[in-house]
């Protein structure tokens, strides 16, 4: 470990895309009004889809459970509005595929008061009950991956967690939703962190924030109670600082061994949005029925940070922001480095949707692709020290099996290689193709 990298709180390699955060970083979080139609896909988290427990025609209240966990790696879903179940069926999702979902029509005359429990006595809950409560609150990782939080918090016997790491890096360009949450709700963040820390039995909470958010660092520090074991660690501004293994390297100087989890180095990592959601559930009785997201990009008329009820169509979110500019060409859910493009404005906002970014011709113009000249820029960008140049060549040649020896499955698809490539080779896309083939290919029977 280089002493220098420890001092600057960073990992090695990575890239420096322009931040593009000035557009929204000072805009307070606004609440979007309720609209008429909502769609709640049953599979909006990683893992087993939820199981619907309502039928068409049934009246539901805002915050009421409409689907229960379909297994351990699955969470509950709650109605984002008071209204009527219109249909339980298949709807086109963000990836263009039809998938099971619950369509809800809002009651225009309802007060939209959240009808859920009040604050819970979390201190007296056993760890088991606590984890079950997180699952039933529908809480997933809100940084973008949407991995069920209760699974992350379930630590096997014999494994000790010493540090709770709260991820406020927000290294994706354009996004400022976590930034605003830290600035506007530092108390909820600290309360949520305290709940999780105590339940995990961790010694200390560390909140990692990229140093381009000095106001957030300052405000959180000011709200820390005397004696509270919380530290805010400013991190170097570098993508992908918010990737959990990179952040652990930045803060603790430790590498999480390949194929293992943060808990194997006694750390538990959660996004700031997730921590606030946990605070909202245990202190206010509010399950995960809405989330904060950033609407930005050159194609949006009025960029904003918004609280959006889950299931709201992107069309309504964009309309609230003054609509699309004429030259809009592509809409990304999430950040520009790792987000996913959507094919239709009717796609609903999901739990994992940290942003709605609208790009124009300038950002989406196809750059001419040149052959790989082995310049090595991708090797110097890859935070996992892979050889993306070699992986891309092998993928092009469809030599997917040979890619395993180059540790293709260690790739987290952060996109640094594609960003850095002067030949405009879609390196990470080629790697995804190979991983997909290796994972899903069925060997022909002899």
């Amino acid at each position: 470990m280089k002493p220098l990298s420890l001092l600057r709180h960073s990992f090695e390699h990575g890239v420096h895309p322009a931040h593009h955060k000035a557009q929204t970083e000072d805009l307070p979080i606004q609440r979007v009004p309720f609209v008429k139609d909502y769609v709640m896909p049953l599979g909006q988290h990683i893992g087993v889809p939820s199981r619907a427990v309502v039928v068409a025609g049934e009246r539901v209240r805002r915050g009421q459970i409409i689907a229960e966990p379909g297994g351990f790696v699955s969470t509950a879903l709650h109605s984002p509005v008071t209204g009527t179940i219109r249909e339980v069926g298949n709807f086109r999702g963000a990836d263009g595929r039809f998938a099971p979902a619950i369509a809800i029509e809002a009651d225009p005359f309802a007060t939209q008061q959240v009808d859920a429990g009040a604050a819970q006595d979390w201190e007296s809950l056993s760890l088991e009950k606590f984890i079950e409560a997180v699952q039933m609150a529908g809480i997933v990782g809100l940084g973008g991956a949407a991995f069920p939080s209760h699974v992350k918090l379930s630590v096997p016997d014999g494994v000790r967690i010493r540090h709770l790491l709260v991820n406020g890096a927000e290294c994706e360009p354009y996004l400022t939703n976590d930034h605003r949450l830290m600035v506007e709700r530092p108390d909820a963040l600290l309360d949520g962190a305290e709940i999780v820390r105590q339940k995990l039995g961790a010694e200390e909470t560390i909140i990692g924030v990229e140093s381009n958010k000095p106001d957030a660092i300052e405000i959180i520090r000011r709200h820390i109670q005397p004696g509270q074991p919380v530290r805010v660690v400013p991190l170097k501004v570098k993508y992908p600082q918010g990737a959990e293994k990179m952040m652990i390297k930045s803060v603790f100087g430790k590498e999480v061994p390949a194929g293992q989890l943060p808990r194997d180095v006694e750390v538990n990592v959660n996004n700031v949005g997730t921590i606030v959601a946990i605070a909202d559930y245990f202190l206010r009785g509010l399950p995960l029925i809405e989330r904060v997201l950033t609407v930005a990009g050159p194609g949006v008329t009025y960029p904003a940070n918004l609280v959006v009820p889950l299931g709201t169509p992107v069309r309504e979110v964009v309309r609230f922001c003054g609509g699309l500019k004429g030259e809009s060409r592509e809409i990304i859910m999430g950040g520009p480095m790792m987000g996913r493009p959507i094919a239709s404005l009717d796609v609903p906002v999901l739990k994992g949707c940290s942003g709605v970014l609208v790009f124009t011709e300038a950002e989406t113009a196809r750059r001419k692709e040149y052959p790989c000249i082995s310049c090595g820029r991708c090797l110097e960008a890859c935070p996992y020290f892979l050889n993306p140049s070699r992986l891309a060549r092998l993928s092009r040649a469809r030599m997917y099996d040979a890619m395993k020896a180059y540790h293709v499955f260690d790739c987290v698809e952060c996109g640094c290689c594609t960003f850095a490539c002067p030949s405009s080779i879609p390196i990470v896309q080629l790697i995804r193709t190979a991983k997909d083939d290796l994972t899903h290919r069925k060997e022909p029977e002899e």
């Binding site: 890239v15 895309p17 293994k245 590498e255 999480v256 061994p257 390949a258 194929g259 069309r315 609509g323 699309l324 809009s328 060409r329 592509e330 809409i331 990304i332 950040g335 520009p336 480095m337 790792m338 987000g339 996913r340 493009p341 959507i342 094919a343 239709s344 404005l345 790009f359 950002e363 989406t364 750059r367 040149y370 052959p371 000249i373 082995s374 310049c375 090595g376 820029r377 090797l379 110097e380 996992y384 020290f385 892979l386 050889n387 070699r390 040979a402 180059y406 540790h407 260690d410 996109g415 594609t418 960003f419 850095a420 490539c421 002067p422 030949s423 405009s424 879609p426 896309q429 995804r432």
Partner: protein, 339 residues
Amino acid sequence: MNKKDPDLLLFHAPLLRQGMTTPKAMRDVIYALLPATAASIWFFGLSALLLLGASIAGAVLAEWLFDNGQRRGESLRDATAVLTGLLLGLTLPPGLPMWMAFLGGFVGVSLGKVIWGGLGHNLFNPALLGRAFLQATFPIAMTTWVVNSYGGEFTSVYASSLALPFMQSGIDSVTAATPLGMLKFDQEVTPLANLMFGKINGSLGETSGVLLLLGGIYLWLRRDLDWRIPVSILLTVVLFSAVLSLVDAARYPTPLFSVFSGGLLLGAIYMATDPVTSPVTPRGAWIFGIGVGVLVMLIRVFGGLPEGVMYAILLMNAATPLIDRYTQPRVFGRGADSP
């Protein structure tokens, strides 16, 4: 929404790209070479200009003729053919007949690049392959060095430059030996200042050490070259000759003489760093550079030729795939291994 929705594109993330492109990087190398090129034209007069033009024309013609792209000439836009021609030209003796330079450029691009599959697929540096071809076919012309007039006879053109193809014209100009030749065959040492500022005889590009270094710094600032390669080559050469001068200061070159004489700077900064033909891994770059440095010194000191940069780089080019294979970086969270 009353308006029709836009037809949305579905390009996959990341949508953001940094600004450098491959043609820009190639053009940067050309820009970096311009001061040294201008100096060589000043030193050797219009002959130098004609020679560079001829080798570039040969390289461009081969690229254009054998282009298998959709549109003929498309691949010329990445500027690599011009760069190959320019680099080759800079390695040639100033009085070389133009037609030979043209042929060298043509062979360099066609046999050195196109038949391998074009840009990015070649094993050997095309400019050096072209030079090796000329060295093998025209050994006398390739080792005849006209005297550096240092700008004095700018407008005169050597008669040998204009020789017709396959006609040997007698060498009419005053010829002289290069500093490395003088050292090797006459045990005569050239003053360092002359080496650094070009008051020497030699091929076009090896006469202005300082300008070549400046261009290298420009490329390093633009992140266009892997600094490990020139640094490791030059360090190896310095160390190697430091040891030799300790053994016998009279017989062997001093470290600074070794660095500034011959084509070492041109080769180390502009040719060994050709990304296509040098290792892609950081550790590989060090091994490659050390290998070039050692071979240069072995050929210069113990070989039959006064200069060895070309063969040193070509030999290490051949070793590049092997070096890459055994120098894979250590993956995050894993121990050392290689596939």
